[in-house]
Symmetry: C2
């Protein structure tokens, strides 16, 4: 058999109309304006559409309705594999959420933001997508500025960092609430010197996670001075930052980390000092990557509800596509702290605080 | 600004023809049949196309050429996160390879094979894609049978398991070569009783990895009896299988595992016996997931070159789309063994074999 089987067997509007003994316009109305038909006519038309398996040709329909039923999403180059995991989870969730709204996801590769904008431009000129989902927003984001200027339909997974008034609709996870919850949990475990391991200032996401730690530590009236250590993300950095913190005259016994990579390095530094993560030093990571479950002891971590984020994003985008005048929504979702042995003491209340 | 900017500013064929002072047919030829034009006419037409930024409307072009420039790919529901990582790596690589051939990837969600076939049917009826990439082939695969029967253009990442003669083109990684390399490596480290931890028989991929172990162990004239342990994939299973193997009167000192999950559980079982992974028992996993790098000691693992697989798959698909009569190709790619401390002895030659 040849691949042309689909072309040959393509059910036409005419065939459906003949089968239902109605006009082509009636079949078209049944599909696009059912309220125009009497109930029994609509039922007959629908029965014929279903029994012949008719679907309007997508290309012809795109021309007429300007709808491709596709959401464009740029896929980043593969990263170290630890921190890329959360974006991969988001992508799976995005496809499933899109499916429930009758959309598919058009994925395109781009090495950086400039290439991503070129990709948007190309897809729009070809009318290949109806709208966009974006991830990884950051201060001075040229991509969102480009799309917003043109009034194009898009929703970001990530806030418009550094903008006084949001220029677009967004969904995000409350990272500060996550690190604050990690601090509260470590305090409950009896820790009194709780440090933060994070990225250099200016990254939006990183600053947010830092602010949650700062807010919570202050709320507990605990020290903060000299307890925020920062460096580029990675296991090696986590090890170096924790080692430096441990060299202080009164070292921290709690470590809240902006990523599982940093936390993993920090756990290594704990072991190197002959201490036990959990019993001696409480360590909490961020993003609950597969590594957090796999390491021993298991790593406590802040989990982003990316499924909920994806569902909300697609709902907002579908709304926006149906009505261009809808006000840009802003949705902040609370994360979950997953507690594992790396931050748990066997008898928390009996352990003296340092 | 409204989103209609793209509609209003859409550059028409007429505008480009006017700008180049040629006919519309000439511009159309420049795009679709450049060999029909004299070099200077072609140059003038191209210059006008570029300077006005003209792109033929994708929907109109689809109707004419039946080409959407999209490759359909089904994304599986998120898995445990350890073994899902290799398919996520493949997806990134697929998008990048597709991009170099002028294609994007249309992702759709499906919970199982039957839903995946429904997805294919729907996309084909809507003419939304030009062809398909499939992953996760297995014996009695209804999806490939469905596509092959209809003569549709698709390439699988994975062999047609259990078929005497391949019914379609495929790209795959030689899993047996990977487990055989793991055995050779463990033998070099001084091990003489080398076990296999894998999945229940019948999974295609799992049987292939088992066969590589069996072949290599036999080639070294080492024992195999009672040394193949099988169970459902997972860390817990790996722990249970290794524990059982260690209870033998002469337990294995080398463990070749069909996945990093199994290997991770096996490493736990090694530690539980007061032994050291690497020095006492050599452990090798499969898929080189992020977890393999993160655990301590680092886990040796067989790495699938998914980037190479994706590039080859897209090349084969592009070839097939250009010429439906091309013979189905079969490409088997050798994997790489990544050696880490979990299978390395400090002085391999001095360690007596058990």
């Amino acid at each position: 058999m040849s691949e042309r089987v689909y072309t040959r067997e393509q059910v036409t509007l005419e065939a459906v109309a003949r089968h239902a003994r109605v006009s082509r316009q009636t079949i078209s109305n049944a599909l696009n304006a059912p309220h125009r038909l009497a109930p029994d006519t609509l039922a007959r038309a629908k029965q014929a559409i279903d029994s012949l398996g008719y679907r309007p040709n997508q290309a012809a329909r795109s021309l007429r309705t300007s709808s491709s039923q596709l959401i464009g999403f740029r896929i980043e180059p593969t990263r170290d594999g630890i921190n890329g995991a959360v974006l991969d989870r988001f992508l799976h969730a995005l496809c499933e959420a899109a499916d429930r709204h009758g959309y598919n996801v058009l994925l395109f590769a781009a090495a950086d933001d400039a290439k991503e904008i070129e990709g948007y431009d190309d897809l729009l000129r070809r009318r290949a997508v109806d709208g966009f989902a974006l991830a990884g927003t950051h201060p001075g984001d040229a991509r969102t500025a480009w799309l917003a200027e043109r009034g194009l339909p898009f929703i970001t997974f990530g806030r418009p960092w550094g903008e006084r008034r949001a220029s677009h609709a967004w969904v995000d996870v409350d990272g500060a609430a996550g690190t604050a919850a990690a601090v509260d949990h470590l305090v409950e475990q009896g820790h009194r010197r709780i440090a933060f391991l994070g990225w250099p200032a200016g990254s939006g996401v990183g600053d947010d996670r830092h602010s949650g730690w700062l807010r919570a530590v202050r709320a507990h009236q605990l020290p903060t001075r000299g307890l925020a250590a920062r460096g580029e993300d990675g296991v090696t950095t986590g090890h170096a930052l924790a080692t430096r913190l441990f060299q202080q005259s009164s070292p921290p016994t709690g470590l809240v980390c902006a990523s599982d990579s940093l936390a993993l390095g920090a756990m290594g530094a704990v072991t190197d000092r002959g201490l036990a993560a959990g019993e001696d030093v409480g360590v909490v990571g961020f993003d609950d990557t597969p590594v957090a479950v796999a390491v021993s002891p298991g790593l406590s971590s802040v989990r982003q509800p990316v499924e909920q984020a994806a569902v909300t994003l697609v709902e907002l985008l579908a709304e926006r596509l149906a009505d261009a005048t809808v006000a840009p929504a802003e949705k902040l979702i609370a994360p979950d702290l997953i507690v594992r042995p790396s931050s748990t003491r066997s008898t928390p209340s009996l352990v003296p605080s340092s």
